[in-house]
Every structure is written in structure tokens, then in C-alpha cells.
Symmetry: C2
Subunit: 600 residues, 2 copies
């Protein structure tokens, strides 16, 4: 059940693909060097491998429990969380003025990957707390920041996001929770929130709930939603804890996976009203929530990489141990380890390619985010921000969907043992299943990619991404290795086809977005998946070029990178054309739109 | 949690695609008419919908339990099993001389689909019993048949298949269980068998274990395995039960799914040796086991259809109830049921297409099996047998793999509710995960398709399948509707491309099977999946033609068939070319074979 952080792969993606050296020149990031990265990652690896990872299986076997409104977490979690917080990991990417480390998102990303690979259930608590910190830093008053952020960064308190209600899941326009002004600047909150991750627990002395609610006479729909801070215990002016607030956990869910993470139903205001404080402007709650959601969406995409990598590692260990059947090529008379069988090799290679491709894309996106915040040139900032925003739904949607495939292959490599819970492979399969659902389903990500990220700017960012892919294709074609390397040829052929498929998909979206929105949205998930397949392939193509050029520095490491890219080119990239066909398949009520509702 | 057997769809596949009328003319099948089929299916539906289906969720919540060697099944299961047996369903496809109904496999197949859709865990008990019956009928002595088969058919006893040992999963050459002759014709059996489905339970008074073991001095490997009957209670000459045999259930597995079905570790011979009786010839055990395994593999493929259909039905119900978000085309100002959203439509359409395609292929295969047994012409029998054997690994591998996709989409349609166990969608996702593993993993099916079903006859059957696909393509192209129907055009385009991809894959296997077996076996699962995608698409193309011609008889039903075929053509068939690229991607140690073992 152990986890070993893939530090070398992470550093490769950070330095060679995401371009860490572009960051260290930026104001405030002077220390963001490769050496710092290595030191930070090694330190993070120790904690996550030794402390958090060993609790993962136990958390699944002995989940959090609820009794009389209180939630008791799995034994060991509280101590692990405090070690995490005391190590400064919660504050890694947050400003030093509130107790954080002020490091780039590119540094935080591999740490988030490790955290969630080590222990997805536990990792959710810092992930949600990050979201709360982001929202307060963006929209909170200075007093609110001073009061809450340092305690959240230090792990004395944790944070939550309260969006969903029984009738309002993907559709926040349907939020009904009420906020009544008390005349003293505070509000009383009434309503029910469901699916609140780490909404109640006994790891910290307080929990800071950020809650979407409607004030009286607020406009209907998403334009009438405001954001409130509702702490579990009220906070006195001196920062000490006051009375218990009127927010109570009435139950937790019995879930398919992430069982150690309590998913709470929270009842606000059953005993007179929960005291809440408005964050930012009234009726701007959705906008602020989107800030924390975008950070959370990116992090959930990284969780996809985490789960995929952990499942891959476990499958590799098993495939190297398990002896079964003679080789198909007759090269041995005895049964051999199953990693020597071609189909097991195919599964592991696919798992590895998907994981590395998605990791690379996520790290590249993180660097864009850093450059968007810190680049001295405003045009550059805008350019990087646009790239980051284009990539977020892809990182979220694609990485999480691919984690379902990888964790499923992980079970399959184990054969019958994969179906037995004691083995542990099944837990990853169950845990990963939430990833394409929470923080916006894949369809919601796809709507974002189509609407806000492609149609709104007339495909400008999409076009610039395609130009960058073309540059990589040219580099492959003109490289000295092209003629002799099957990997180069396979990558060039399938990335070209994938690039063309993506180009057609973008055109389809642009041409039909207004005239036939149903057709475009019927293909939106296929568009997202196509983008994920091709852009991850693009990163692996870059990796192929770099590994070829640097091969002599570390032949085994770079040969593995070349082989991974080659495997992805033949096993994954060809899917691009299938997604394109699926996108083009629905027009004017045809294809998947042809069937009448009552005939399903 | 209810299940409604899709009788109309089943009868369509039986009559229009599998050609029930070809069977009713065969000797012994005089009563196998459409009217009989309808009556049998309606009767089966009542039992499965009313008695077995309601127990499915309870079985998951309160699985079978083990204590001191005894297994207590979920409350209600025993009674349900006896209703099943008393209704004659265990004997449906078995000979009337032993108490069966003697109906064609084509009639048994929809009943097996219903049984497993209603309750996969319970359905496994009859499925394994069917295997034991088949093996005894094929290889048992007349006395053995008389002694065991009627009791198995009547459900007084149940049967099991004991193959797997801790060191021998896919590789039966590694079986170590010993059988020592006692001089009186009987043997004493010593060893440990694992993963024995329904290996111990309290539903019946006896359990008939069929066990693979080695006699002294047997050759090594698979040529030294014999098959033994080892009843839980010895059977006296008058058929009454004698002493408890020395086979004991020492534990049951804690599994990801099918929790109500006890998966036993059986210990043979810890107290002096379990009494066993040889079935057929010594050292021929594997051959006999393959007979029961082939029947079981086909049935597991049908289980894939079952799980997919149940997940589809549940998703449709939810999508028609759940109200969320306004339509993307602005056609309403209020939130609507999610089935009106294009991406939900895409998911449901994909689920439906995959399910109907795989069902159609399985039913067609069943008819080939019936014709192989009963056709008066021996050349025809051989032809149908070859077709059936070609299709079995595809039905098993493809239908079960697609059931993972469909049950996963089923969770996704439910959003957050899909991740909560109370909803029930997650159970299908967990239950289905065993299907591509047991009775031979997908890789084992793919090896069978490559080795015994393609290479051995030089691609003869594969070529005849492609000719049949071509006939359907011609029928599409020359049909009066072709010019005006987007469904016809999409199906023709994508089935043509899929057919060509399958053709190339077959050529690749034939050309490289001897010279580069590693490359061929690295692509074997892709070849199987490609065959599944294309041949299911072929059946849906036939369905499109028939539904178009018969549309006026029942417009709504046939329009749904046309739309289902159209959706499959655009959403699923295009994957064929991606699988083909994956197959061709590994040659001479390239692609997925390029990475060194130690670099994983």
C-alpha cells in the first residue's frame, strides 16, 4: 500500500516542460529555483510517504463516523493533519504576510499531487481550506483576512465551501438558503447544505464555512447569491472562540469512496439562525465562489493525476511480483512475472502515459497561472491568464476522467486479487469515481470550455494553443532523430492527426455555437476529452524531444520518457479522431439528440 | 431500484437479428417459436422483476456472512433461489431427459440476462451450476449424470467450478491440488482452492464441487490436470445424502462488489482427504473444464449486458425526474429535467447503444450455438460452431468491458447522488468490475481470439464475418432511405471505416502472429475491443435496416431503434480506428513494448 513520490518525473515536468526558470526571475519568486524545488519536494515526499500514505487504507476500512452531530475522524488523521499543517504545507502557495510561504503554484502543484496520492480523503481538507483562503484573500475585508486567514494557513482551523443544496447541484441558480440582515452588519442564515466535504470533524477547534445564500429581495437566479462566512464557533474580536454557532451536521453520507472524508449535511439556523458575515459585495457571491472553485477545480484535476499515479505504482509492484504463465514468444519454459506479458505491458504503459501526460499538462497550466500573476508585462499576464483559464476545465475534466481508466486498469492488472478489498487497488477505483463529479462535473467543465473559453473569445486562445502544438510538430519533423526513430514518427503522425481533429472541433464549436447550441453541447465532453488527449500528447511530444536531446545525461531515465511518449502516441492519441467524429455526429437534432425523451 | 425486463427489445433481437425462425425448424426445437419465446420471457420477467430484483440492493448492504465454516446468505435469497428453481429456470436450456426444458440457448440467453440484471450476486449461483451441468453431461458417466444432473437442474443442489489456487489464476498449468487414488475407484483430494463462487452457502442441502487436481505421476502443466466431482455431502447409491465430505470453507472474500455472492476459500483434505470421483478420462480435465468455461464465458458476457441495462434503466429514471439548469438553447426560462440537456442525452444514448449492440451480438451468437448443435447438415453445423466459437471471446471480453463504461456513465448521470451508496448506481459500478476478470480476464479472451480463433484457421472465420459485414454495408448503401437519412449515412461511413480497421487488424495478426508474437499480443485486447465495437455496430446496422423497413408497424419503437443505431454510429463506432492504430503501434519491441521492465 506504499506510495513513493515520483520526484524525478515531477522535477522533469517542472523544469523541462513548465519552465521553472521563467518563474525565478519574477518579482517575489526570487527563490523559486530548481534547487529550492528539489528541496521542497524532497521534504514534502518524506511527510506524505511516511505519515499520510500509510493511513489511506485504514481510512477506507474505518471511515469517519457521525454521532449526535459530532464527527470522529479515522484514528491517526488528526495527528497527520497537524504534522501537515505544522510543516507549513497548507500555506505553501499563500502570501507570507498571512503566514504562508509565498511559493509559486508550480511548486504547490506537485505537493498537492503527493498529498492526494498519499491520502485522497485527508487531502480534501487542505484542498477545501485552500479554496476558503483564496476566496477570503480575494473578496474579504482586511479585518476578515486578518481574523481568518492566518488560522486557516496554520491549520488551527479548516475551511469549507457550502454551495450544494438538495435541489441545487450543478445549477446554483436554484440555491434557496436565506440570509437575513440583523441590522448590526451581521446576518442570520437559514437553510440546508449537502455534500459539504469535511463539513464537520474533530481535527481542529473551529471550522470556517463559506456559504452561498440569498438576502431578502435579492434577484432570482445566480445574480442574487451572496457569500457569507459562517464559523462553527463564533470568533471574538481578540481572535478567541466564542459561542457555538447555529450550524449543525445532521448526517454524513455513506459513499462509494473517499470514505474517511466526512461528507456532511449541514443544517443552518434550526435554532434561531446561524450568524454569518457577508464577504465582499452583496449578490456577488457566485463570482467569488468561482475564484475558489477555479482553484479547487485545478486541484481536483491534480487529484486525478494523484490517483492515477498511485494506482500505477501499485500495479507495477504487483506485475513485477506475480508469476503466471509462460511468455507468448516462447522465450522461457517456465511461468514468468506478469510484467513480461505484452498485455500487462500495454496496460502499464497506457497507465503511465496517461498519468505523465496529464501531470505535464497540469504543471504547465500552473506555470501559466504564476506568470499570469507575477509577470511584469501586463499583456503577458493577460496572455498567461487566458491560457490558464483555457486549461483549467481540461485539467479538471480530462485528468479526472483518465483517472477512472487508470484506476480501472490498476484493478485489471491485479486480476482476481484486484477485486478483493484487502489488496487496495479497488479503493483507488472507488475513490477516483468522485473526481469527475465534484467541483463541477465533466459536463460542467465542458460547458465552461465551450462557452467561456472558446466561444467568448472567438477561439483566440484555442488558436494560439494549436500554433504551439504546430511548433512542437515542426520540431519533431525537423529533428535529426526523426528518420530513425519509430517513436518520433508515431508521435508526429498521431499528434498531427490529433491536432487536426482538435482544430476541426474548435471550428465546429465556433460555427455552430449560436445556430445549433444543442449539437455543440452534445459534443462538449468529447471536445474536452479530445483537447485533453491532444494537449497531454503535445506535452509528451515535448518530453520526447527533450529526453532525446538530453539522453546521454541519464540514459535510463530519458529512455523511459521516450518509451512513455511512444506508448501514448499509439495507445492514446489515436482516440482524438474518434472524439472528433463524436462531436460532429450531432447536428440539427440528429445522432444522440434524435431519440424522443419518452423513448429512452 | 426496480428493474423492468426490456421484453420488446429482447424479442426484436431474437426474431429480427438472431433469426428465431431458423431454430423452430430444427429437430427437437419444434416448439421454439416466437409465440413460445414471448410466453417464456413474460413469465421470466415476472419472477425476476418481482422476486429477485428487489433483493439486489439488500444483498449489497447485508452480504453473505461466514462463521465457523458455514456461510449464511442474505435474507430472502434462499426463498428466491427456490422460486427460481421451482419455476424450471435452472433447466431451461438443459435436456428434458434430466428434468430440463430442452429450449434453445437463444431462449435461455434473455432469461440469463434478466436473472443477472435483476440480481447479479444471486444469478452467479445458477450460472456456475449450469457450468457443472454442462461438464457432467459432456464428460460424466451415465451413472454420474443420473446421480447429479437432475438434482442440479431441480435446484435441490447447486454446482461450483474449482479452478483457481493462490499461485494459479489465469495459468492453470500451475494447479497443485492432489488427487490420490484409493483403489476403489475413488480419490482423496488435497489442496486449497480460492475464488470459488458460491463455494459454500445455506441455500441447498448439498453442493457439487467440480475440482481440477493432479493424480500422482501426472504430466506437468495443463496436460496433467484431471476433473473430479467432490460433493459437500457424499451421495449414497440411493441418492440420499451420506457423510460430510472433507471440503471446508475456511473464509470468504471481502470484495468490491457482488457482495451477496459468497466467494469461498475451500480447503480440501485437511482431515484425511476429500472423497472425489474422476469425471471422464484422467488428464483430460482442462478440456472438460473448457466446455463449462466456454458456456460460462458466454454467460458472463451476457452479465455485461445485464449490468449495462440495469444501470441504463436507473439513469433514465433519474434523468427524467431530476430538475437542474435551463436548456442551453434558451427554449425555456426555468430549469428542466436533465434528460433535456444534450450531454445527458449523449450519455444515455451511448449507454443504450452499447447495451443494445452487445445484447444483439450475444443473441446472434446464441443462435449460432443452437444451429451448431441441431442443424441437420454437418457442414452447416461446423460453420455455425466456428462462428459461435469466434464470437464467444468477443461477447465475453467486449460486453464486460463496455459494462464498465456504461455503469460508470450511470454514476455520472446521477452526479453527486451517484456517489452515495443509497442511490444504488454505485453498486452497479462496483458489481460490474468483476466481469472482465472472472472466467478469464479480457487478456485471456483476447489471447483466445488471436490464437485459437484467428491464427489457427488462418483467419477463415474472421474473413467470413467481414463478408457478412460487407453485405450489410451494401444493403445500407442500396437502401432507398440512404440518400435522405443521416442515420444511414453515418452508419455506413463509420461501419465501413470500422470494417476496414477490423480487416487490417486481422491481417496484422495473421502476418505477425508467428514472427512477432509479442507485438500481436500487445495488440490483442485492442483487437478484441475493435471486433466488439464493429460487430455490435454491424448488428445495430442490421437493426437500422429492419426498423426502417418495418417502421410503420410501430413507429415509436422503430424510431428508437433507428436513433440508437445512429447514436452508436457516431459515438462508439469511430473508436474502431483508434483501436486499429493501437494494434499496429507495437512492433519489434516498439511502442508499449519499448520500456525496460526495471524502468516501470
Amino acid at each position: 500500500m506504499s506510495y513513493s513520490a515520483p520526484l524525478k518525473d515531477m522535477l522533469f515536468a517542472m523544469t523541462e516542460l513548465a519552465g521553472i526558470d521563467r518563474l525565478s526571475g519574477l518579482p517575489g519568486f526570487e527563490e523559486a529555483t530548481v534547487d529550492t524545488a528539489q528541496a521542497v519536494l524532497e521534504e514534502a515526499a518524506r511527510l506524505h510517504e511516511d505519515v499520510l500514505a500509510p493511513l489511506n487504507f485504514e481510512g477506507d476500512k474505518s471511515p469517519s463516523t457521525w454521532k449526535d452531530g459530532a464527527v470522529t475522524v479515522t484514528s491517526g488523521f488528526k495527528d497527520a493533519f497537524h504534522q501537515f499543517a505544522e510543516g507549513g504545507w497548507q500555506g505553501l502557495q499563500h502570501p507570507s504576510e498571512y503566514g504562508g510561504q509565498g511559493l509559486p503554484k508550480l511548486f504547490a502543484t506537485p505537493c498537492i499531487e503527493m498529498l492526494n496520492a498519499a491520502n485522497l480523503s485527508l487531502g480534501l481538507c487542505p484542498l477545501l481550506t485552500d479554496g476558503a483562503i483564496e476566496a477570503l484573500l480575494t473578496a474579504g475585508s482586511e479585518a476578515q483576512k486578518q481574523r481568518y486567514v492566518p488560522k486557516l494557513i496554520s491549520g488551527v482551523w479548516t475551511g469549507t465551501m457550502n454551495l450544494t443544496e438538495p435541489q441545487a447541484g450543478s445549477d446554483l441558480a436554484l440555491v434557496r438558503t436565506r440570509a437575513e440582515p440583523q441590522g448590526d452588519g451581521s446576518f442570520r442564515i437559514f437553510g440546508t447544505k449537502i455534500f459539504i466535504t469535511w463539513g464537520e470533524h474533530d481535527m481542529t477547534e473551529n471550522i470556517v464555512h463559506l456559504v452561498l445564500a440569498r438576502t431578502p429581495n435579492a434577484p432570482e437566479g445566480v445574480k442574487g447569491i451572496s457569500l457569507f462566512i459562517v464559523p462553527k464557533f463564533l470568533v471574538n474580536d481578540d481572535g478567541s472562540l466564542g459561542e457555538r454557532n447555529d450550524v449543525h451536521c445532521v448526517s454524513i453520507e455513506h459513499k462509494l469512496g473517499i470514505k474517511a472524508s466526512p461528507t456532511a449535511v449541514l443544517q443552518f439556523g434550526d435554532h434561531g439562525g446561524a450568524i454569518g458575515h457577508l464577504v465582499g459585495e452583496e449578490n456577488c457571491g457566485l463570482e467569488y465562489m468561482f475564484i475558489m472553485m477555479n482553484a479547487a477545480r485545478f486541484a481536483v484535476g491534480v487529484q486525478g493525476v494523484s490517483m492515477a499515479d498511485r494506482a500505477y505504482q501499485k500495479a507495477v509492484v504487483y506485475a513485477k511480483e506475480r508469476v503466471q504463465s509462460r511468455p507468448v514468444d516462447g522465450s522461457a519454459k517456465q511461468a514468468v512475472t506478469i510484467i513480461q506479458h505484452p498485455d500487462v505491458r500495454r496496460m502499464l504503459s497506457t497507465m503511465r502515459g496517461l498519468t505523465e501526460g496529464a501531470r505535464s499538462l497540469a504543471y504547465v497550466a500552473a506555470a501559466h497561472c504564476d506568470l499570469a500573476h507575477r509577470h511584469p508585462d501586463s499583456a503577458q499576464r493577460a496572455e498567461h491568464q487566458a491560457m490558464y483559464e483555457f486549461l483549467v476545465p481540461i485539467v479538471k475534466g480530462w485528468s479526472t476522467e483518465m483517472s477512472l481508466e487508470v484506476t480501472s486498469l490498476g484493478v485489471q492488472v491485479h486480476g482476481g486479487m484486484g477485486f478483493v478489498e484487502e489488496t487496495g487497488a479497488a479503493q483507488y477505483y472507488r475513490d477516483a469515481r468522485i473526481l469527475p463529479i465534484y467541483e463541477g462535473t465533466t459536463a460542467i467543465q465542458a460547458n465552461d470550455l465551450v462557452g467561456r473559453k472558446t466561444l467568448r473569445d472567438g477561439g483566440r486562445v484555442a488558436a494560439s494553443v494549436l500554433i504551439q502544438v504546430d511548433e512542437t510538430l515542426s520540431a519533431l519533423r525537423s529533428h535529426a532523430s526523426y528518420r530513425s526513430s519509430a517513436a518520433f514518427q508515431a508521435m508526429h503522425r498521431h499528434l498531427s492527426a490529433g491536432r487536426d481533429a482538435l482544430d476541426s472541433a474548435v471550428r465546429f464549436v465556433l460555427e455552430h455555437g449560436k445556430s445549433d447550441p444543442n449539437a455543440v453541447f452534445a459534443g462538449s465532453v468529447s471536445y474536452l476529452m479530445l483537447a485533453g488527449v491532444v494537449l497531454s500528447g503535445w506535452q509528451l511530444a515535448r518530453s520526447l524531444l527533450i529526453a532525446t536531446d538530453k539522453r546521454s545525461e541519464d540514459p535510463a531515465f530519458h529512455d523511459a520518457k521516450i518509451a512513455t511518449a511512444h506508448g501514448y502516441a499509439t495507445q492514446v492519441l489515436p482516440r482524438a479522431v474518434a472524439f472528433e467524429a463524436a462531436i460532429a455526429g450531432a447536428r440539427d437534432g440528429e445522432g444522440v439528440l434524435a431519440m424522443h425523451e419518452h423513448d429512452f
